[in-house]
């Protein structure tokens, strides 16, 4: 494994520790965990006993170590609102969020890449101008507004699509999916578009500027001078060279999608993690907040690692053992 992936791995662990620290500080010092767990009639002695039992009187470093240890095992304590383990709540909500995020990411890639390639190749074409205008509007419209507008048109006026919820879901093992029922799929359309729209415009603009950049390079000129077809040049040579930055941004964007899901889930009352997190903020449900923080950071770190590995796959310059390169002419 190349050194840079190991370095990234170490960096990831560091990021996770920092985030865990923030979550821990929140968990332990924002409000009083004991206060949240007991009733008003609990006596001081009982509170102190609980405090001792929970280990809240231990040195902070010990408490932090314990917190990290629990987090690794997926133990985040009890939700103040639900009086249930946070992990359990997350398990119920995770499929909804992941399904939505995945479909939104696919939507933004499948539509965004061709639009970006097209506008890169036909820089001043009529359709390109329309796409570019559209993309600026896409960037300027906040996610929640796109959701509201979609609801207004397709749910209120036309009545074609449901405006909230996941529709019928099917449980497969511990996983609930809305992808197998008509109503589940219908319910997914608007949230996925809402969530994917911003990333779509970003990906489109990025691919466009990368295409413009690559088409100016010497190897593209040389490919033209060899008489290769436009198709081979544009898609074989140019598009592949735009992939490295696109993978970076797409990776970051998938992370963003999970974060932006908070907004989309609120607009569409989608029963996922984001909605749970927002309710936690409203109700000062610290265990859920700190657990969510750790989980989102974890997703980000994992995605970043995947991105690094993808680089390695796409770009042979990183892959090769430089010792083999030789031969001076």
């Amino acid at each position: 494994m190349p050194a840079f992936i190991i370095r990234r791995l170490a960096q990831s662990v560091f990021v996770m520790l920092v985030v865990a620290m923030v979550a821990f500080l929140m968990f332990n010092y924002v409000g009083d965990p004991v206060h949240q767990m007991v009733g008003i009639e609990t006596s001081m002695q009982e509170r102190e006993a609980l405090r001792e039992a929970l280990g809240l009187n231990d040195p902070p470093l010990v408490q932090f170590a314990r917190f990290v240890g629990h987090a690794v095992q997926g133990k985040f304590g009890l939700s103040y609102q639900y009086k249930r383990p946070v992990a359990e709540l997350f398990e119920e909500r995770l499929p909804a969020t992941l399904e939505l995020s995945l479909v939104a990411a696919l939507f933004s890639l499948v539509i965004g890449i061709p639009m970006g390639v097209y506008t890169g190749l036909h820089r001043s074409g009529f359709l390109s101008r329309i796409f570019m205008t559209f993309s600026l509007i896409g960037i300027s419209l906040p996610t929640f507004l796109i959701g509201i507008l979609l609801i207004f048109v397709f749910a209120v006026i036309l009545g074609w699509l449901p405006s909230y919820g996941r529709g019928e879901v099917v449980a497969i093992g511990g996983w609930t999916t809305g992808l197998l029922t008509i109503s589940g799929l219908k319910a997914l359309i608007m949230p996925a578009i809402t969530l994917g729209m911003f990333q779509l415009t970003l990906i489109m603009r990025l691919i466009r500027s990368e295409m413009l950049e690559v088409l100016r390079t010497d190897y593209i000129k040389f490919a033209r001078a060899r008489g290769l077809t436009d198709r081979a040049i544009n898609f074989g040579h140019a598009l592949k060279n735009t992939l490295v930055p696109v993978i970076t941004i797409t990776g970051l964007q998938i992370g963003s999608i999970i974060a932006f899901a908070i907004i989309t889930e609120t607009v569409f009352q989608w029963p996922g993690m984001g909605l749970l997190f927002l309710q936690a903020i409203h109700n000062v449900d610290i265990p859920i907040m700190s657990a969510y923080l750790i989980l989102v950071a974890f997703f980000f770190v994992v995605i970043n690692l995947i991105v690094d590995i993808l680089y390695y796959v796409v770009d042979p310059r990183l892959r090769v053992d430089m010792g083999k390169a030789g031969g001076h002419g």
Partner: protein
Amino acid sequence: MGKPASLQAVHIPLHRRAIDALRRAADGDVFYSFIHSPVTVAATAVTLLIILSAVLAPWIAPQDPFDMASLDLMDAHTPPSWMADGNPKYLLGTDDQGRDVLSTILYGSRISLEVGFLSVIFSMVLGVGLGIVSGYAGGWLDAVIMRIAEIQISFPAILIALLTDGILRTVIPEARAEELALTVLIFSIGISGWVQYARTVRSSTMVERNREYVQAARVIGIHPVKIMLRHILPNVMGPVLVIATIHLAVAIITEATLSFLGVGVPPTEPSLGTLIRIGNDYLFSGEWWITIFPSAALAILVLAVNLLGDWMRDALNPKLR
């Protein structure tokens, strides 16, 4: 050349240098490209119009939506004036409490812009300050600041703002929650956006700190940070202004989003985002105007600022084109 000339530059007041920079910009290609981009001129006009009408809201709004006495619940849910049940008194209709929608938009954009501008200023001061410190001090301080920046930039700004806002809300006592809401919001949005300023300023600082005049000024005992401020600020003004303009659009969106999620501006003094949140409940009963008009106002404002920022980036920073 030598010490006297380079030291003289130190003592030209900041504002004079700023004015000079602007004058140079106005003479050159920047002004030319501005006049020859009708979209930019229009975007500027729209932005200025919205800012002006927001500032003048108390004088030009048909109604004071926060003055309970002027509200008439009988007038609640009136559609826009051109519709069947419309009332010419309320051009864009009224909301559930009988507040004139046009007036709430004018007052709402006032709050949105206020939060937007103040968060941008907060980010800018924080970012420029940390950038200078980081670039000038180097060493472990630089490493720490830049590592934090690196971690922060890998998370979306809105998530940082939302988390900061969420944490702060749990920290402040409930009694003062309402009065501190705006401060919390500005702090949260501001803290989520400093990284870009810091990175830009840091690299400029690193170039400047080894220049002769800095060494010279140090010899005669002028505090280096003072010199850095005087010299670097004018140099980085262009890029910082571009970042600030684009950031303004982002800050307005973030504010609107947080308010829409119910963790931003309280409904007693609503911003555009709060108005959209309130109106959203009435979308299904057909009273679309309560939410659609503030939405349109928000979209137009952000679009105009974005267009302006796009143009500035192209005009002031040809490298990015």
